[in-house]
């Protein structure tokens, strides 16, 4: 079972205590954007076989949203971090690079 540490209340929460919120750090497009941008925002996900940044909600706990970095192939959790950010913290990215050299993700902002 997937266990994520909630960065807000500090609890090591089991999967059944959490709700998945899909891919993280999406750049939002709305009125005034092109069809292509809106399409990509709505439907195109990184869907990597490897390092994935995602949103989770500690729904049966403190109720807060947070971010997690996880490997979709091995289910290894690299770390969790605050929701109040537009990209993963540098320490986390460095830690991931040490374990998965060459990993990629789109631009953050």
């Amino acid at each position: 079972m997937l266990i994520l540490n909630c960065p807000y209340c500090g609890v090591d929460a089991e999967e059944s205590e959490l709700s998945g919120g899909g891919e993280a750090h999406l750049k939002r497009f709305g009125p005034g954007s092109s069809d292509g941008e809106f399409h990509d925002y709505l439907f195109m996900r990184e869907n990597p076989k490897g390092v994935h940044f995602e949103r989770w909600r500690h729904s049966n706990g403190c109720g807060k949203w947070f971010h997690a970095a996880r490997c979709t192939q091995t289910l290894e959790v690299f770390g969790t971090y605050s929701a109040q950010t537009t990209e993963p913290p540098k320490e986390l990215k460095d830690a991931i690079t040490a374990k998965r050299p060459g990993w990629t993700w789109r631009e953050y902002e």
Binding site: E15, E23, D35, R45, N47, E54, T72
Partner: protein, 414 residues
Amino acid sequence: MKHYSAFAVAREALRYHTGWERAWRSPEPKKKYDVIIVGAGGHGLATAYYLGKNYGIQNVAVIEKGWLGGGNTGRNTTIIRSNYLQDPSAAIYEKARSLYEDLSQDLNYNIMFSPRGVMMLAQTHHEIRGYQRTAHANALQGVQTEWITPERVKELVPIINIDGPRYPVLGALWQERGGTARHDAVAWGYARACSAMGMDIIQQCEVKGVRSENGRVVGVDTTKGSIDCDKLGMVVAGHSGQLAEMAGFRLPLEAIALQALVSEPIKPCMDVVVMANTVHGYMSQSDKGEMVIGGGTDAFNNYTQRGSFHHIEETVRALVETFPMISRLKMLRQWGGIVDMTGDRSPILSKTPLGGCFINCGWGTGGFKSIPGSGWGMAQLMATGHSPLTEAFSLDRFKEGRFIDESVAAGVAH
């Protein structure tokens, strides 16, 4: 290819079964093919088969990273039905269901199609309205389904508890001509028929790159060397995103694990397929007597072919309430497959931004039932550039807002 028949069984019985030949050849790849299909699962092999049978294109290779039928074709719960809400879905799934009816004769391979009936339980008032709507839609589409009462449900499935305290059975959508088939045999039957037409099925050959010139595909690089082709069909389900990236385009897909399990074999007790979407569980009994159980998808993206443990608990808990007699059954095996989910829960059968390259993916949790229809439409698309069956499932529907929204209609038990 030697024809399978009662006579052949008798002949082999008299000579110690020494005359059976391998069902398909395992050749080394040639330098060039007219068409390469990536992915030797049900959909890939069916595409190759109908390319040869309907369009005479037989210089075809089907390339497979693992072993034939070892992906989702061998990992599903073998349910066949076509009671969808939207017209394009009903058309392609009904085409598939009708092809399944005489597929054993067509392929000369027993796929054990069993039209035992598929029942989708309504356990909330919302579901009653939803399924009655589907039954009306199906009547207009020419798909035979009907709304049945709880009493009729109990008559068809005596082991069901229709008076459960939390989710009583309020009725059901019944498709009498739906059922199950032997999933491995579908892949094996198509493979044997393709091989007999002279097509090459190349297993344990992973595609490492897609080569193109002037915006047109010219071949693929594989672990068994470089192979040229005029047209390329990508039919790889969960790994479609990786393959599309090699060809230089992206897909609106997310990969998620879906799991299933079977119990120890017991005496025959249920001769229809029962799906309970509100409580997320569905069950049928295999010919071996095992209760085959399917549940929900994981809550997060992943490429692990196993699935989260608590989903098994939720699924089994729901089914024990609906079928109290299974509460003492031991579970025998559990497994998972990687399903490729689109935003509207409908598949993608389409041309791609790369010329000569076609994609068939996004079947999500509903791939097995559609194998013959999908192969039929995909072959037509690849051979002629257009297919009425696949037209609505094109890649650009997301940009144009032409969704085929089955996510509400089909729910989790797709």
